[in-house]
C-alpha cells in the first residue's frame, strides 16, 4: 500500500508528537506544530493520537492513493473538493488535490494504519534543520512514494456508524482554528520581562502583532513596534522552551515553535501557555495575534480545559467507531 506525491505543496512533512529526552544535547522535541489537529486526524481514521501524519502548510499537495485508503484531513480549511474533518474512504487511483488554506495555516492528513516509516530517536517526525526523521529527513517532493501500513481500510470504514457513500454525515470540531483575528494568546511573564522598558512592557500587550513572512517551524517573527531594554546588557545564554518569546537586539520578538533551538542568549519577555501554542501555529504569515497576561495557575487551568475539549472530541469519534467509551 502506498500514496504517490503528484505535487508536494509548499511544505509537506511527516510529523508525530515529537521526540523527548534529547534537549540536553541540543535537540528539540519537534513534531507537529498543531498537535491537537494531529490527534483528531488520527482518531478520525482509527489510529492512536500520536501516529505520524502529513503536515501540510498554506498550499497543500496533490497525492494519489495507490490502493483503497481510509484517510482524514484535519486542521486548517483548505480549498479542496475533499471533505475535511471526517473519515473518507478514498478509492484506488483517487487524486486528492489540496489548494490554498482558506482559514488557518496547517492541516494533517492521516491514513488508517499510518505510514510505514522507521522512527529515528523514538519519533517519525521530520527534523528539517538536522535532515533526519520522517521521509528521508526532508519535505516531500514530486514523485515520492510513501508506503502505508496495511490497515484494512474497508473493515475500519464499515465499523463506523452511518458510513455511506465513502464518508459520514458528521465531522470533528475544529478546535484550533481562529474564528476571527487577531487571535488571543495567553502568556506568562518571561524571566527577563522586568528588564524591558515600561513602554515595551505595555507595548507587548497593547500591540496587535503580525506573523512576519520569514516565520517557519523554528519560530514566528512578530512584526510590530520594536521592544527595547534600558540596559541592553548581554544575558547569560540559557534554556528555552516551545512558546518562549525571545527579543533579539533588533527588538523584533520571536515566538519559538516546534523546531526551536533549545538554548538562547536573548532575553525572554514572555512564555506562551501550552494550551495556546496549537492555535498560534494556525496563523499563516500576515496573521494577527495579541497577547494577554495570565498567571501560572490560570495557564494550568487553560491546559486542563484544552485537554478536556480534545479528550471529549476524541471520545465522540471513538463512539462513532462503535468503541466503548470510558
Amino acid at each position: 500500500m502506498s500514496i504517490r506525491v503528484l505535487r508536494p505543496g509548499l511544505l509537506t512533512t511527516l510529523q508525530d508528537h515529537g521526540r523527548h529526552g534529547f534537549q540536553r544535547v541540543g535537540l528539540c522535541p519537534g513534531g507537529a506544530m498543531d498537535k491537537v489537529s494531529l490527534a483528531l486526524a488520527n482518531a478520525l481514521v482509527g489510529n492512536p493520537p500520536d501516529e505520524a501524519a502529513l503536515e501540510i502548510t498554506v498550499i497543500g499537495p496533490e497525492i494519489e492513493f495507490q490502493e483503497d485508503t481510509l484517510v482524514a484531513v484535519c486542521g486548517a480549511e483548505f480549498e479542496s473538493a475533499f471533505p475535511h474533518n471526517r473519515p473518507v474512504l478514498a478509492r484506488k487511483g483517487t487524486r486528492f488535490n489540496v489548494g490554498r488554506a482558506k482559514r488557518g495555516a496547517r492541516a494533517y492528513i492521516a491514513v488508517a494504519g499510518g505510514f510505514a516509516i522507521e522512527p529515528v530517536l523514538g519519533s517519525r517526525s521530520t527534523y528539517l534543520p538536522g535532515h533526519f526523521g520522517g521521509f528521508g529527513g526532508r519535505a516531500l517532493k514530486h514523485g515520492d512514494v510513501l508506503a502505508l501500513r496495511d490497515a484494512s481500510a474497508h473493515e475500519r470504514f464499515k465499523s463506523l456508524k452511518k458510513a455511506k457513500d465513502g464518508t459520514v454525515r458528521w465531522s470533528a470540531p475544529p478546535l484550533t482554528l481562529p474564528d476571527r483575528e487577531p487571535i488571543l494568546v495567553h502568556v506568562i511573564e518571561g524571566q527577563h520581562f522586568a528588564s524591558f522598558d515600561s513602554t515595551s512592557q505595555r507595548g507587548f500587550f497593547d500591540t496587535v502583532w503580525r506573523v512576519a513572512p520569514d516565520s517557519n517551524r523554528m519560530g514566528f517573527r512578530l512584526s510590530g513596534p520594536p521592544l527595547g531594554r534600558p540596559q541592553a546588557d548581554e544575558i547569560l545564554s540559557g534554556p528555552t522552551c516551545l512558546g518562549s518569546v525571545q527579543v533579539p537586539p533588533s527588538g523584533v520578538p520571536i515566538a519559538l515553535m516546534a523546531d526551536h533551538q533549545t538554548t538562547g542568549g536573548y532575553p525572554r519577555i514572555a512564555e506562551i501557555v501550552s494550551a495556546d501554542v496549537a492555535r498560534l501555529a494556525q496563523l499563516a504569515p500576515g496573521g494577527k495575534v495579541h497577547f494577554a497576561k495570565c498567571s501560572l495557575e490560570m495557564a494550568g487551568e487553560l491546559r486542563r480545559d484544552a485537554r478536556e475539549r480534545l479528550q471529549s472530541a476524541l471520545r465522540g469519534i471513538e463512539w462513532e467507531y462503535g468503541k466503548k467509551t470510558k
Partner: protein
Amino acid sequence: MAKARPLGVVPLGDSAAYVEFSSTLDLEVNSVIQRLALAILKRNVPWVRDVVPALGGVALHFDPDNPEFPGNPLEAALELVTDSLKAALEAKAEPGREVELPVCYESEFALDLAEVAKKAGLAPAEVIERHAAGEYRVLMMGFAPGHAYMGGLDEKLAVPRRASPRAIVPAGSVAIANEQTVVYPYAISGGWNVIGRTPMVLFDAARQRPSLLWPGDRVRFRAISREKYIEMASGQ
C-alpha cells in the same frame, strides 16, 4: 557550598521550569549543575521529559499530561532540585567522559585565525598551541543538536564574536569567542571565530549515542595534519 543553592526558579511556560544558580558564568557552579542534572536524571521520574544543564542553572521539562505530574512546575522543579542536590554533591565520580577531538588548524580550515591572532596580540602558531593545550568542559549544549559550549579557553584567546555572523559555517568548524570554544555540528550560520576543523561527525541521529559530546564531558583537542584530516573525513 554556599554556591550550591538556587537563586530562584522561573517558569518556562506552564510545563517547564528553570532553576537558576548563577546569572553569570562560574565554572565551579556549572560543575555542581552537571552533577545535579545527572542526579535528577538517575531518579527516572516518569513525568520528567528532559533535564537540561545550562551555563548557570538547570531546566526541567515536564509531561503535564502524566497523571503523576504534581501540577505546579515551579514547586515540582524546586523539590526535585532540593531532593537531588545532596546526592549530587556527594557523588564521587566526575560527571561526563574524556573525549579527544582531532582538529586540523591549517589555514584553509582556520578562516579567522589571522584575525584572532591580531586581536589577541599573538602569533597564529601560538593561538593554535594555546587552543590545543587546553582542557575543556562541556558546560551546556544548545543552538543545534550536538553543539557544545565548552569552557576552559586560555584567557589570552578570549576575543569577541565576529562583528557579522557567517551565513554558513562549515560542518566540524572549531571556533572560539569570549571564554569558550565550540564545534559546529553541521553547516549552519554562526558568528564565532573559526580556527580549525574536526573530521569527526558531532551529531548523527542514526547512532545509538547520537551526540559525540554530552554535558559535563571533558574535552581535549589534538592537532592533526591536512592529510590526516582528509583520511579521517573520508573514513567517516
